[in-house]
Assembly symmetry: C2
Homo-oligomer: 136 residues x 2
């Protein structure tokens, strides 16, 4: 399948698209959001997945048995430069509107000629005893 | 105590200083390496620590009972822009030269008028079963 890359004007747009794709378990949108080169992805508790194809496969695998991820996400910190944005997000994963898990994700968005794409995602599970810190 | 900020010419220098401070458990160097504003730190399994003072306290606490951290670190990926660098590092924590744990860390270095300082550190423990991925 030929993947069409998205054309996103701001890191905010890239972030919105990322969480829409995550929430709707949409591997095609995810494939259009990630850059081709220099990309790395760390799912909670996992090693580093390097390379576009392996990263897209990992998302397709995560999405394979679910239709929708119930999630609320909150921006904690953002560092911005002209061509690079690093965003720390608290992801609250919900089940029947109750918080099942809290994940922290550092997302990296980079500006290319065609617009902003994702080049990094590093997620980690917050252990129960330290959750209080997350939701400052 | 008055903290003197370091004057570092490149993100490489900032990275070297970070791991020297980590290895030698040197909270003073760590205090000189972190920027004052817009900083965030996530230790493995923990919530987000926001703000310079809280971050420096957390490192001082980690260093309080140890003289030295045995560690080998390897760069996995780096995204660079003029004023911002994001670096993914595999940290192998050693005990008697054996690997005790593997941690992945996304480090963020930012260029200020005085030089490069650290503005982000997000670390997560790699669970045993997925370690193979890390050391690609």
């Amino acid at each position: 399948m030929k993947i069409s890359k998205l054309h996103l004007k701001t890191p905010d747009e890239a972030e919105t698209v990322f969480y829409q794709a995550f929430t709707h378990c949409d591997a095609d949108v995810m494939a259009g959001l990630w850059a081709d080169q220099g990309v790395v992805c760390v799912h909670p508790g996992s090693g580093a997945i390097i390379g576009y194809n392996a990263i897209i496969r990992s998302w397709a695998s995560i999405f394979s048995n679910v239709q929708r991820t119930e999630m609320k996400y909150t921006s904690i910190n953002r560092v911005v430069s002209k061509k690079l944005t690093v965003s720390l997000i608290a992801e609250e994963l919900l089940s029947s509107e109750k918080i099942e898990a809290v994940v922290l994700a550092t997302n990296v968005y980079q500006k290319f000629d065609s617009g902003w794409l994702m080049t990094g995602h590093h997620a980690s599970l917050v252990q129960q005893h330290s959750r209080g810190q997350t939701l400052q």
